[in-house]
Symmetry: C2
Subunit: 168 residues, 2 copies
């Protein structure tokens, strides 16, 4: 009983600590997506469109199957969203050179503009949080976040140099 008040019971603290982590994830994600969502609404798009635009912008020439792997949705789900983006000329598809079955995806100039508009809000939010927290905290943030990602997905994030890099 009095452990609660005094904060001596380590099990309680651990529980509280972990629940705070859970909630930070929830609230940060909720607020992180709210701004772009509002903008997307004006275009008749949703969050799914943002994700597609984002990752196509990030990986120009990405294949459909690689995009599916990132998003972890079915091709039918992607199809609707991607179809709209292609129809409305935010994204173009061109056949692969080595493998002509592939439809490599790229943003059009219009697509790049929308991507910038949407992501800018998120970038600014992260930049502010990073700036206020300081470089050391950012390093810790990265470590913990990476630990939350499934083992299989961590390859996407390059290991950071421990100290200043000397050569190339």
């Amino acid at each position: 009983m009095s452990d609660i008040k005094t904060g001596i019971n380590p099990l309680f603290l651990r529980e509280e600590e972990l629940r705070q982590g859970i909630e930070l994830l929830f609230f940060a994600y909720r607020d992180f997506t709210a701004e772009p969502d509002a903008i997307l609404g004006e275009y008749g798009f949703g969050r799914a469109h943002h994700r597609v635009i984002y990752f196509v912008g990030r990986h120009p020439g990405i294949t459909v199957s690689d995009l599916l792997e990132i998003l972890r949705i079915t091709k039918q789900s992607l199809s609707r969203v991607l179809g709209q983006l292609v129809t409305e000329k935010f994204i173009v598809q061109r056949p692969g050179v080595r493998d002509r079955r592939q439809r490599l995806l790229e943003l059009t100039e219009k697509g790049v503009e929308l991507e910038r508009l949407l992501t800018e809000r998120q970038r600014a939010r992260i930049a502010r949080a990073y700036r206020e927290a300081g470089a050391e905290a950012v390093e810790g943030f990265r470590k913990v976040m990476l630990g939350l990602v499934d083992e299989a997905g961590r390859g996407r994030f390059p290991a950071r140099a421990a100290g200043p890099r000397r050569g190339a």
Copy 2:
């Protein structure tokens, strides 16, 4: 800034750094929710049910309007999910004492069990990430995550002691 460390193109690195932050949020959240989602499926529930169960468990006796404020959804959306949870006896409602218009929400024993089952996976994931990253990294994680939350929502998270606590 820490751009100095790398001594290459600071603007590019900053861009890259921020995009990594964006992606960490996406992938961490994606993987963080995947496990409970799978369990929820067995109950015929979805992620929305988890959120309700979680926050009712976290704040026993919470009012409907406070819950709405946390979730940032409409009462009609909540109604369906909450209705199911009440019908299936995971949650009970009792009228407020001071204000009898309120329907204060609480988990039943069944509800507590399901909450535990669901949240346990997330707690374990966070615990692992915290353990692997170390106490200092956790502190940084918290700082950055809190900075990502809208100013208005930060009150929920108590400010932490600046350093190691020496006595009371």
